[in-house]
């Protein structure tokens, strides 16, 4: 069981998808989806087990100590010139993201429970695609083999395209195809990089294993010294990969698909998009770019940092200008993910930890915000911030939870958003002696002032939507029902828990692995 645990987690949703072929009653379709996503979540909790003792990734360990490892031959040519393994495993970097994925997927299934109210058809197809999407996301996080990683990465594309395009809002077709083309354009560059990374080393050491590529000195030597079409191999491949990942993050200037996709997607899909899909970009950079091309990471740190800082400020300013509630949350995601990019670019302990924490924190707060928006959209059928007002009065429970969610996103101390942003800013500041050099202080100062912008647009939004005089058209809105509270409460609890006990809830699990990545990158 321990060997195949991850496979079970990854493929339980697929089994659920196949099972749905044979289910016809609407109620049962939802139940089956809930059953399988719930089972995946429960199983994924077991992933904590090796990390609880605190030994995982402790000093003396090396990058690539992975747990629940499973390795089976998958594709090979007859002369073994080309070997792909089904190789999965988790370390401190992927474990929190796996649990986050199963949690958000489960909540998204719950959030889809009122599918009939959307007045759209094809419920069965919707849940099947949702489950397939979950498999794709989980597989990406647990894959150790680059080829497998790529396959799972692409598996997500099609379900997402349909989930936005069929069940989305008014401009869904445009949003869906834009998402599809952007992401595919990024991933074909990744494909070329993967090809080159496999074939450049000598035949005797060729591998797709992401761990092996980072650890094998022979491969590393080739990556440092080779050239590709006249350009230095390392930096060029780093950029190919980075473009693919930055589109997912999304980092300025690759972000334009995100507002469209988020706004047009149905609420549960927005939750998944913001909560999990964006994290894949950050995860990819930490898993593929940094450990395998440490030199390039050092050389390109300023570029990454610049993109991060621009995303922070640009996203926040855009968010401030929005009158569409959902668009505001979407742009806030760009701003928040900018901290992730900046934290990674800093290449300091605090920076990497902050980036990781910010990913998880954003993975909790942004699905919450999107769901909060969805709740009033279902009641009011519009999302114009300026037409709302005084919602807290008619919906006290909802109002309270909304405050927690948006304050977590704002980065209020004692809530999860705070820790990540502070760590990133500290880490950037400390990077003066590391990768960012002279740029460290200006970047840190700009990033810190980004927090003010964030506070501005969120507080202003809360004022316009939740506070103020009660408006007659919203006075009779029912408060959050039990299902809605059931979705919001776990996220709210997590937001508080991560804010108060950051060490026990996250840092203890991830620090070891992150330090090993950092050590490799600084060597």
């Amino acid at each position: 069981m321990a060997n195949s645990l991850l496979s079970w987690i990854v493929f339980l949703p697929t089994i659920g998808m196949v099972a749905l072929f044979f289910v016809n009653r609407a109620e049962n379709v939802k139940r089956v989806a809930l059953l399988f996503s719930g089972a995946a979540f429960v199983l994924s909790l077991y992933c904590f087990q090796p990390f609880l003792s605190g030994e995982a990734g402790a000093a003396g360990g090396r990058y690539g100590d992975i747990y629940f490892q499973q390795k089976v031959g998958w594709i090979e040519t007859s002369d073994r010139a080309f070997v792909v393994n089904y190789h999965v495993g988790i370390d401190g970097l992927s474990m929190p993201l796996v649990v986050l994925t199963t949690l958000i997927s489960l909540l998204a299934v719950l959030a889809s429970w009122n599918f009939e109210d959307w007045k759209k058809k094809g419920m069965k197809g919707y849940f099947m695609l949702l489950l397939l999407l979950e498999t794709g996301m989980l597989g990406t996080f647990v894959a150790i083999d680059f080829f497998l990683f790529y396959v799972f990465w692409e598996v997500m594309l099609l379900p997402m395209y349909f989930l936005i395009g069929v069940w989305g809002g008014p401009r869904k077709e445009y949003a869906a195809i834009k998402f599809f083309i952007y992401t595919l354009a990024g991933s074909v560059l990744m494909l070329v990089a993967m090809l080159a990374m496999y074939f450049y080393p000598d035949a005797s050491v060729r591998t797709f294993s992401l761990i092996e590529m980072a650890n094998n000195p022979k491969i590393q030597e080739v990556f440092r010294n080779a050239s590709f079409l006249g350009y230095a191999f390392g930096p060029l491949m780093f950029i190919f990969l980075f473009i693919g990942f930055a589109i997912k993050v999304p980092s300025f200037p690759f972000h334009t698909w995100l507002p469209d996709a988020h706004v047009e997607a149905p609420t549960p899909i927005s939750m998944i998009l913001a909560g999990v899909l964006l994290k894949m970009g950050g995860y990819g950079i930490l898993r593929v770019c940094f450990p395998i091309f440490p030199n390039a990471a050092q050389q390109l740190a300023v570029l990454l940092g610049t993109l991060g800082v621009i995303s922070i400020i640009y996203g926040a300013l855009c968010a401030m200008a929005q009158t569409d509630f959902k668009k505001l949350v979407a742009y806030s995601s760009i701003s928040h993910m900018g901290y992730v990019t900046l934290g990674m670019a800093a290449l300091t302990e605090a920076g990497l930890q902050g980036a990781m924490f910010q990913m998880i924190a954003h993975g909790i707060s942004s699905p919450m915000c999107f769901f909060l928006v969805g709740v009033i959209y279902e009641r009011a059928h519009h999302r114009e911030i300026n037409r709302f007002g005084g919602l807290w009065l008619s919906m006290p429970v909802y109002g309270t939870l909304a405050t927690v969610g948006f304050f977590a996103s704002l980065g209020l101390p004692a809530l999860c958003g705070f820790i990540g942003e502070v760590y990133v800013v500290f880490g950037t500041f400390a990077s003066g002696a590391a990768a960012l050099g002279a740029y460290a202080k200006p970047f840190a100062i700009i990033a810190a002032s980004g927090v003010i912008l964030t506070a501005a647009y969120i507080l202003w939004m809360i004022q316009r939507v939740y506070l103020g005089k009660e408006r007659s058209e919203y006075a009779n809105f029912p408060d959050a029902n039990r299902r809605e509270v059931l979705i919001l409460a776990p996220l709210a609890i997590l937001a508080v828990a991560l804010g108060i006990f950051p060490k026990q809830t996250l840092f203890d699990f991830v620090t070891g692995t992150l330090n090993l990545i950092l050590a490799a990158a600084s060597a």
């Binding site: 998958w74 594709i75 090979e76 040519t77 007859s78 002369d79 010139a81 080309f82 058809k121 094809g122 197809g125 790529y150 396959v151 692409e154 598996v155 594309l157 099609l158 395209y161 349909f162 395009g165 069929v166 869904k172 077709e173 869906a176 195809i177 599809f180 083309i181 595919l184 354009a185 074909v188 560059l189 494909l191 070329v192 090809l195 080159a196 496999y198 074939f199 450049y200 590709f228 079409l229 006249g230």
Partner: protein, 547 residues
């Protein structure tokens, strides 16, 4: 007199008494010929019924496929020459044909595809067809031409095989002679075909003039040992390539393709989109590999890279142009035509790997796997188009509107085929594209040819470009509301065929990846290789002309 007799007798003996082993290896072709004869004779016994010739064709194809299966094990390692014409001095001369596993595998592939096409034809047009015997005769004759194309080893044979494949195809394209578009398609096809044939024969004559032989390995050997070169050689090779490029519709020899696909009946379009391209590609690769079989000095330094660049540039032009041209199409048939051109371009890239290494077995293996998967993807797409066209009466983008809500299963299967054509995992289309990439990357490393990396980049970027037009069909099926909600009226067998194709693509993309690859590897190992004994043989007819 005596001399002529001396030349003629062994020749006649060869023709009338070929070695039994040789005959065994061309058994599938002989079966095709027998089937054609049977179909032509059938009206004498059964009047003009549809079923008899249809079933005869099916029977012939099934038996042919089985024959390939049984014979494939007998092939000698590194292939064998067939029907060598005796030279003047009595030694065995150059062979017209070769047999190796790839050529037999291709025949099997062709027979299986033939079965499907005949079945498809019987389901759609066959019932109304007035002249089923003539139609099937043409179809089988073009199949015979294609199967000869893949084992031709002599430029004369290449020309004969290409003509044998082309002439019936012209007839097939315009078979529905009362439809204007069919007649137009046929005329365009003939005009283009005749022009490129002329070019090809001209090119062959130039090569013959320069090297005194038409036997491909001998030609390559003489070229490698410093035969005449320069512009004349380039013109000769290019003109010859035009003929092959026409068959695989490589840009700029592709103009016939969209019009013919649009005008021809659906089974014929499907047939040409896969079989004709497959045959042309294998022929081209075999010739390129014959050139790659030699090395040394100037030849390795100038001639081989020039061939590699030439083929590579054609491949780049072909797939890039086709993908952008497909953007503007509103007729699905034309879109699929451009898509087939693009795929031919991807496969053509394998031809740029002209290096003496394991590279070309990898390349061939990738192409064989690609062809197999490509057959299923295209079959699914064309069949769905046929079902939709039969139901709505048109083949425009719009006719697909809302198909996802009218017939969920067929639309889902069509989506799988289209996404596999894009080349996304976990579908078969991704892996075969990947193997082409891997062959390019591996050879680029081994032979230090950066140009192959450029090809790999172009292929990858083209994948992203192609997504848009395939996704537009998916978009129509799911995102555009249908004109009416009535379910799709279509024969169950047709739907089953589409679903079967989709299922195969999913399976080859998940659990059958390894079997697919190892099968392709098995049939491309021990390819016909050029050895000294095979190239030294002079060309009996050419002896007098040789300098």
């Amino acid at each position: 007199m005596h001399e002529t007799l001396g030349l003629t007798m062994p020749l006649l003996a060869k023709i009338w008494l070929p070695a039994a082993g040789d005959l065994r290896l061309v058994l599938p072709d002989l079966l095709l010929i027998a089937t054609i004869v049977a179909i032509l004779l059938a009206p004498l016994l059964s009047r003009r019924s549809l079923r008899v010739p249809g079933l005869l064709a099916l029977l012939g194809a099934v038996v042919g496929a089985l024959a390939c299966w049984f014979v494939i094990g007998d092939v000698a390692a590194s292939g064998s020459d067939l029907f060598g014409v005796a030279a003047r001095d009595g030694s065995s001369g150059p062979a017209m044909l070769v047999a190796d596993r790839v050529s037999l595998f291709f025949r099997m592939f062709l027979m299986v595809f033939l079965i499907v096409i005949v079945a498809m034809w019987m389901m759609t047009d066959g019932e109304r067809e007035q002249n089923p015997h003539e139609f099937l005769t043409l179809l089988l004759a073009s199949a015979l031409g294609m199967s000869l194309m893949t084992s031709a080893n002599h430029l004369l044979m290449v020309i004969v095989a290409i003509e044998l494949a082309s002439l019936p195809s012209y007839g097939l394209a315009g078979f529905d002679k009362f439809r204007r578009t069919a007649a137009e398609a046929s005329v365009k096809y003939v005009v283009f075909g005749a022009a490129t044939s002329g070019l090809m024969i001209y090119g062959a004559s130039l090569l013959f003039g320069m090297f005194g032989t038409l036997h491909v390995p001998t030609l390559a050997a003489r070229l490698a040992t410093g035969g005449p070169g320069g512009p004349l050689l380039a013109v000769g090779l290019l003109a010859f390539f035009a003929g092959v490029g026409f068959k695989i519709s490589a840009v700029p020899f592709h103009f016939w393709c969209p019009d013919v696909f649009e005008g021809a009946s659906l089974p014929v379009a499907t047939w040409l989109s896969v079989a004709s391209k497959a045959a042309g590609l294998l022929l081209l690769l075999r010739m390129v590999f014959a050139f790659a079989g030699h090395a040394g000095g100037e030849y390795s330094q100038y001639v081989l890279p020039t061939i590699s660049y030439g083929v590579g540039v054609f491949a780049i032009l072909t797939c890039t142009f086709a993908n952008f041209a497909a953007y503007r199409q509103t007729n699905i048939r034309r879109m699929l035509a451009y898509s087939s051109i693009a795929h031919a371009g991807y496969m053509l890239m394998a031809g740029a790997i002209v290096v003496r290494s394991s590279g070309y077995e990898n390349a061939m293996s990738a192409v064989v796997a690609y062809l197999l998967i490509y057959m299923f993807m295209n079959l699914g797409a064309f069949m769905t188009l046929g079902l939709v066209a039969a139901d709505t009466g048109e083949e425009s983008m719009k006719s697909f509107a809302g198909l996802g809500w009218r017939d969920a299963l067929t639309a889902a299967a069509m989506t799988v085929c289209l996404i596999s054509l894009v080349g996304l995992p976990p579908l078969g289309g991704f892996y075969v594209k990947w193997w082409i990439l891997a062959a390019l990357g591996g050879a680029a490393r081994e032979a230090n040819m950066p140009f192959l990396w450029v090809l790999a980049l172009v292929l990858a970027l083209n994948t992203a470009v192609s997504l848009y037009y395939y996704a537009r069909v998916v978009w129509q099926m799911y995102f555009v509301p249908p004109e009416h909600e009535k379910p799709l009226r279509a024969p169950g067998a047709g739907k089953a065929l589409v679903v079967a194709c989709a299922l195969l693509l999913i399976l080859t993309g998940t659990i059958w990846v390894r079997p697919l690859k190892s099968m392709a590897d098995r049939y491309t190992s021990n390819m016909y290789t050029v050895s000294a004994a095979r190239t030294d043989a002079g060309d009996g007819l050419a002896a007098a002309v040789r300098p």
